[in-house]
């Protein structure tokens, strides 16, 4: 595997009560290599995302981003450094419209507080309209996000993360809640947007078809540990993985 190391976890451990959610996790995330994380429910996949984005603090171990130790930073500090996140349950501003959600993100990204200028007039607006087009959501720009179906909410959630112009984007099950007939289409949209913005993605995914098509690397999680890590071709054909992870999925 080549490419610059963007993020690295070294010996990360975390426990909740008696449950080990992460144990001796050592993994590197390379620039330009989209990493899929697979594994059974409760394996600690989301916990890993939480640790990498600063939401949880590991009990031991360290997280590096761009070579700097970021273990103790808050999510907002990591976002400022270029680590964005999309959530399993879309985290949207439910009293705002789709475009407003993106405008808030854009304003946050460019640190444009402008206390007495209406948000609709900020210069980033054009860019956000364009971004909406990129994720094929232009037609719902003025709809309140609370009215949208889950699939569209997921897209908006990811669009918000993209509006932050990240170097690294974590996505927690980007296609869950999307009808299976649309999954590929949705992920195509996302993948295009990612490529266009030159963003490295790490995504948790259950659908092996999606993983095969979009991931450059795959890491397998089991009981808080990384059991396998390699190219999709190697990993997805490994008998243990087929038995423990993929078998369960099918």
């Amino acid at each position: 595997m080549t490419g610059r190391v963007l993020m690295e976890a070294k010996g990360v451990d975390i426990r909740f009560g008696g449950v080990v959610a992460a144990h001796e996790i050592n993994i590197q995330i390379h620039e330009g290599h989209n990493l899929a994380i697979i594994g059974p429910n409760g394996a600690g996949k989301t916990t890993f995302l939480n640790i990498c984005t600063g939401y949880l603090k590991p009990h031991s171990g360290q997280i590096f981003f761009d070579g700097a130790d970021v273990t103790k930073l808050q999510p907002r500090h990591l976002v400022r450094k270029g680590v964005a996140r999309a959530f399993q349950i879309p985290q949207l501003f439910t009293e705002h419209t789709v475009l407003e959600n993106l405008l808030i993100a854009a304003a946050a990204q460019s640190r444009r507080w402008a206390p007495f200028v209406p948000m609709q007039r900020i210069p980033e607006r054009d860019m956000m309209v364009e971004l909406l087009g990129m994720v094929k959501c232009s037609h719902i720009a003025d709809r309140p996000v609370s009215e949208l179906p889950e699939g569209q909410r997921k897209l908006i959630d990811i669009a918000i993360a993209l509006a932050l112009k990240p170097k690294l984007l974590f996505m927690d099950e980007p296609t869950s809640g999307v009808a299976s007939s649309e999954k590929f289409e949705v992920l195509d949209i996302i993948a295009n947007a990612l490529t266009e913005a030159k963003v490295t993605a790490v995504f948790v995914e259950h659908d092996i078809g999606i993983v095969e098509r979009f991931a450059d690397e795959v890491a397998v999680w089991n009981r808080g540990e990384v059991t396998f890590h390699g190219t999709p071709g190697d990993i997805l054909s490994h008998p243990d993985v087929i038995r423990d992870v993929i078998g369960e999925e099918v």
Binding site: Y55, F87, Q91
Partner: protein
């Protein structure tokens, strides 16, 4: 400060803490289950006190034994809990559990405002002072200082027995276990088929009764007057927040802390007496935002 004064300050602090605990524990119990900070809790306290003082005054004047004050206090507590607290939960609070936090607080604030004037209309604006219960127990001299048995011995004993029986109730009885389950995780509890509505109702009535019972006990030691409910709700909140919202045993510790803090202030620096509960609360929250015994559950994302 001599050892004698230290002892005196502790006695005073404990007696005061006992009363505050009785009210605060009801508040924290209700909050734990309903997740609503009931500002009208202070009104229940005041009404318990008013009922005991006014009925007590009437029956003792008519020549009945002052010992009747004690059963009267229990009755007053239960009465307010069921007759006032019950309808408030059933008719009003049950309609607002889905509203935002802000509106929930405001609804209980509205109930508080209404009950304030209800008290004024029923009992008028002048203070009641009815201390037969306190007098009948007599006094006891400690270090040459006369204390009333009621404050020095009875109140702390009642507080301890309420704490113990509440623990037993919550851990040993079915209803108690249901209440604990709803306190821990409302969604999980309802998903396994617990009738949350009934649990809410019972908890609220118990909480209101405890407040009113606290008021009934307080009525023998203090004058009962308009505004006492407002003071008490703020003080109880200080106790509950210091302890951590929803913590029953913690409320006992926090009440003791605030009670002792207050009485030591009277001995050492009387001018800050009224500020002590807030200062303690601010100090604790500054260091532990979730309170002494509170826990934070990071949101699942």
């Amino acid at each position: 400060m001599t050892l004698q004064l230290l002892a005196l300050a502790i006695f005073d602090g404990v007696a005061y803490a006992a009363l505050v605990f009785l009210v605060a524990v009801g508040l924290t119990l209700t909050f734990g289950v309903l997740k609503v900070l009931n500002i009208a809790h202070g009104s229940f306290y005041a009404m318990g006190a008013y009922i005991t003082a006014s009925i007590g005054g009437a029956i003792f004047a008519a020549g009945f034994s002052p010992w009747l004050a004690f059963p009267l206090m229990l009755i007053a507590g239960a009465l307010v809990g069921i007759v006032v607290g019950g309808p408030v939960e059933k008719l009003l609070l049950s309609r607002i559990y889905e509203l935002e936090d802000v509106l929930q607080i405001l609804v209980t604030f509205a109930v508080f405002l209404i009950l304030e004037d209800v008290q004024r209309l029923i009992w008028g604006g002048q203070p009641f002072f009815e201390s037969s219960a306190l007098q009948v127990l007599g006094t006891v001299d400690v270090f040459d200082i006369t204390y009333t048995v009621y404050q020095l011995i009875l109140l702390p004993m009642v507080a301890i027995s309420v704490l113990v029986s509440l623990r037993l109730f919550l851990r040993r009885t079915l209803m108690g276990k249901l209440i604990l389950a709803v306190t821990e995780d409302r969604e999980a509890a309802t998903s396994v088929g617990i009738n949350a509505e009934r649990v809410y109702f019972v908890t609220f009535v118990i909480g209101a009764s405890l407040a009113a019972f606290g008021g009934a006990l307080a009525s023998a030691t203090t004058s009962v007057l308009p505004g006492m409910g407002a003071d008490m709700i703020v003080l109880s909140f200080a106790v509950v927040a210091t302890a951590g919202l929803g913590r029953v045993e913690g409320a006992a510790v926090a009440a003791l802390l605030i009670g002792l803090g207050r009485s030591f202030a009277v001995y050492l620096w009387p001018e800050i007496e009224v500020l002590v509960p807030y200062l303690i609360m601010l100090f604790v929250l500054l260091i532990r935002p979730e309170g002494l015994f509170g826990t934070t559950h990071p949101r699942k994302i």
